[in-house]
Subunit: 231 residues, 2 copies
DNA sequence: AAGTGGTCTAGACCACGTC
DNA sequence: ACGTGGTCTAGACCACTTT
């Protein structure tokens, strides 16, 4: 007779069950790591691993000295996988293609300059239409800081999209993503082949390397687009 | 003379730096845990913790036997904090209030039934307007499975919103969130005090407990709303 | 002051997946 | 088959925060 070895996953599941069964209710203080380790007959590190995971998922609130409580307001953390557009399209079983509509080195408008700051060389302005099959899928408007990525000017962006090229060739350290909804402008509507004013899902992204902006991009998706995640 | 103790965070930062400095490029095989532990003079568990974190963030791909590589296509995982609406409003420095517009137990329309399945009792239909100050902030349309949460019928939802009540009183095990954009219908436009057709940010959420749907909710935000996250 | 979670160590065994 | 990451242990010390 040998007891099964406890894994942090099984502990995670058990604690999870106790919460969703209402055995431990929101706000309740649950036993400390040492106690749980004793109850389950495992090392404290294993308990820690399981509880840390649950806390990260928003089910528990943990504080030194105060102990671990079942989250009162489970701030649900939805994790979205932002993959490159080609993948996104191909995973839906369609053929991906893209075409560069504009590509020009020119001075940025004020609202872009405000974010990008002063640059030595003029930034590169790129607009790209991404297609699923023969239908428009997403319209991309991008500014690239050529100070940070000078060789983008020589890159062949017909085979590989700007996004993919930058991912593999530009260095970045952090980014910020914003999701919103907007009515399609005349220009966007025409490109995406929808009526002006159609509600469009927008993703804005700014990418930095250290203190410097690498690229600013706005993605406008076709109306059918939606972004899903499990929690 | 004593060297500073290595923490997993410092290791995380160092590996992160080597990637963003281009020392280790996308696709590169990086040293194994044992080697890194030797290089940094720490335990393998510490290296593991740092690399596991980086993998979870999408910067590394790890496979047994194959080793650890810098991610070729960094599937960036954006983590959104979905907090309850009251918090959201209050954190922007405004006064939160809500009012229930409709509250009725009735049979669900087909598209809701398709998700919720057959229920013994008729579900509860609730519509709520959430306000920031005196302005509309978000319009909520909700179906609650009364088989799963019978006492919701007796709950006083004037002081506390349905969302908050359910969070504290209903049990759930998993959920699915979908983000999209939609043009405001006449009804929605009127309630949110915008023009019909205005682009609206939509969050749809379905919550289960085990195999059963607990609640289905659709949140329609005012146009100025946007959702941000750092990566 | 004291209790709780946070982390590190050194060693061990295991599971998976590539070779 | 075997190398690599995945995980567990037992013990230790530390950091934070509340009492």
């Amino acid at each position: 007779m040998s007891a099964k070895r406890i894994t942090w996953q099984s502990l995670h599941a058990e604690v999870s069950r106790r919460i969703s069964d209402g055995l431990w209710k929101p706000g309740d203080l649950i036993p400390g790591e040492v106690d749980l380790a004793a109850e389950f007959g495992c090392a404290r590190a294993t308990v820690n691993r399981a509880l840390r995971q649950l806390a990260q998922e928003g089910f528990l609130d943990r504080r030194r000295k105060a102990g671990t409580r079942v989250a009162l307001h489970p701030v649900r953390k939805a994790t979205l996988d932002i993959s490159i557009t080609r993948r996104e399209v191909e995973q839906s079983g369609q053929v991906y293609s893209h075409k560069t509509l504009r590509r020009k080195q020119k001075s940025a408008p004020k609202h872009i300059q405000n974010i990008m700051g002063e640059t030595q060389a003029a930034p590169l302005y790129l607009t790209t239409l991404h297609q699923a099959g023969k239908k428009p899928f997403m319209y991309e408007t991008r500014w690239v800081n050529t100070d940070m990525v000078p060789n983008v000017l020589d890159a062949d962006l017909t085979q590989i999209s700007a996004n993919e090229w930058l991912v593999e060739n530009a260095l970045f350290s952090k980014g910020e993503i914003t999701f919103s909804a907007a009515n399609a402008s005349d220009a966007e509507a025409k490109i995406l082949n929808v009526a002006t004013g159609t509600a469009i899902f927008i993703i804005d992204r700014v990418t930095w390397n250290g203190p410097n902006v690498v690229t600013i991009v706005r993605l406008a998706y076709t109306p059918s687009f939606q972004m899903s995640t499990k929690i």
